[in-house]
Symmetry: C2
Subunit: 350 residues, 2 copies
């Protein structure tokens, strides 16, 4: 398995978790679950034993490079790639792909966001190993699809024919269609029909498959990074990257490649997963009391309180009475109290 | 006016304002209004110009003596009297009265709690001066009565015949009756009839009047402090006080003297007053926004929030959304969120 590489994408700014996260410290760098490890540390730990540490890469923004070095000291410093500006996921993945190709032209790659939560690590690893084996042997672009537990409108969906399988496919299925975030009614239908999965944003492919896809569907982006092949790994790399980045199109890998490519497959996962996109989804990942309340940080007493989440950092004790469906979040001396139902407005409160 | 003395009672524990106040730092020692001065400092300042500082006395619990010295450095250290244990207001006032008599047998005394709020200082001082003049010339026990603004059930009421007045009386009226805290219906009647006032707990009398009243109505308490006359002001005082205190009856001045004495008068006050007995009464003393929200401490943004109070100490910023009639209080890293309507339960939350 020495060809197995991992790319952790860690450039997001996570403004939805303010005041915990902000542009200085996005959520992937926070111990948001109160486990003693940050989300990016949990992400790396999830691949322990299936991808060797010397094959791990992180793509992040320049301003977070130091945070990545501090939090993942075991990752080779030369494998921490810095983007001078945010250009969505396609340029990020294209850069990492060419950079890895220089080091290992036969690399097989998993691309994973740094801020997801997957508690069942053995199930996750089994799923990854099946997908990696498949992508190593084929030209398949593989995504991890999550069995929906409810008609979520916050995720894109993947339509697949899940009825046909064979041992050759390692439990992997051909994708019929990617859909954007549906409205409530469509989401309801998707969940009922049973052949729709949530698009997790975790991808598995070999380096030549993805580079060929970039050449076909995003030739400009691909050429920009191909031209730099001679200087990857040298002290000229960062300056050259700086020069090209602001000229690149800002586009997601989903739009740029996945929705256009022919050989796209999905590996359905049955384990619980969360992209921690909202306070509500974080509450779902935490242990709750009989009334649905969760607390991370200071010891918290709940009185006549329901479906609320208390997340504190510098506070030492919290007593809450009479709240229903609320977020109480404190970080570095800033306190937010907000209805969970209004959490999409948090970015306006900064 | 050199006979004018002031006794500030500062032994209360104020558990209703937890987590701001606790047994270590009761509310009289806190800047609860966010003015830069603690309640006891505001109390002393209220008498500036009408009672000389060398005639100011403070009675407090042993554990708060250092706090009083720190917060009122201008008060003579020998005038800070320490109670070894809490015995309600009668022993406290009796001790101060005998102690003052030793220093000035013709003293005229104002007794005031340390945790009240009176914003209109000129009106308060005019009222005090009238009452002090009256008590200096007569054997009258005078209390300050507050014109009720609403049918409050949390206060005792004083019934007086407010129809008769004369210039000799300095705007002071004879008390018909003291009543305990009434139920809502009786409080309503009291406010309607117009001859009931709130019992403020501020008293004015000359030292011989109150000592004679103690001799008649509480002879045991009075004798205990009279016996110590020779050692007041010596280094034996504190040890002697320690010996007698635990044998004294724990009783309020209202029960012990005011409800029994004959010559009891009331000085009606028209200025706003609060004993800051509840979070609700504190909110009424603060500037509020158009929706009835008040904040002390960190800059606070209110969104869709009504009739709430945010009181913070170590926090640096607060954003609140969707609260109605709530207390948000933080002190030394302890955060309380509680409905104002449930604030009587706060002492159970410690």
């Amino acid at each position: 398995m020495t060809n197995q590489h991992l790319v952790i994408m860690a450039g997001g700014i996570g403004s939805r978790f303010w005041p915990l996260s902000d542009e200085k410290t996005p959520k992937q760098f926070l111990d948001i679950l109160g486990t003693g490890r940050t989300l990016i540390q949990l992400t790396l730990a999830r691949f322990e034993g299936i991808i060797p540490i010397e094959n791990v890469w992180v793509v992040t923004s320049e301003e977070y490079t130091d945070l990545v070095r501090q939090q993942l000291p075991e990752v080779l410093p030369s494998h921490i790639l810095s983007e001078p500006e945010r250009r969505n996921t396609a340029p990020c993945i294209c850069y990492a792909s060419w950079r890895i190709k220089k080091e290992n032209p036969r690399a097989n790659i998993v691309v994973a966001p740094s801020d997801h939560i997957i508690a069942d690590i053995p199930a996750f690893q089994a799923c990854m190993e099946g997908a990696m084996e498949f992508s190593a042997e084929t030209d398949a672009i593989v995504t991890l699809g999550i069995r929906p537990t409810h008609p979520e409108t916050g995720y894109g969906y993947i339509k697949a024919d899940l009825s046909y399988s064979s041992s050759r496919l390692h439990g992997i299925f051909r994708v019929d269609e990617f859909t954007e975030k549906p409205d409530a009614e469509r989401a309801e239908t998707f969940v009922k029909t049973g052949n729709y999965l949530w698009n997790s944003g975790i991808f598995i492919w070999n380096v030549n498959t993805i580079i060929n896809a970039f050449r076909v569907y995003c030739p400009k982006i691909s050429q920009a990074f191909e031209r730099m092949m001679p200087i990857y790994g040298t002290d000229k790399e960062q300056a050259a990257i700086k020069q090209v980045y602001d000229k690149l199109e800002s586009i997601s890998i989903d739009y740029a490649i996945l929705e256009k490519a022919e050989e796209v497959f999905v590996c359905p996962a049955n384990f619980p997963w969360s992209d921690l996109g909202t306070w509500g989804s974080l509450r779902n990942q935490l242990s709750t009391d009989a009334y649905g309340n969760a607390a991370v940080g200071a010891p918290t007493d709940f009185h006549e309180t329901h479906h609320s989440i208390v997340h504190t950092q510098t506070l030492q004790r919290v007593v809450v009475q009479g709240l229903d469906g609320c977020i109480v979040a404190e970080h570095n001396g800033t306190l937010l109290i907000c209805k969970l139902s209004e959490e999409q407005r948090i970015r306006l409160f900064h």
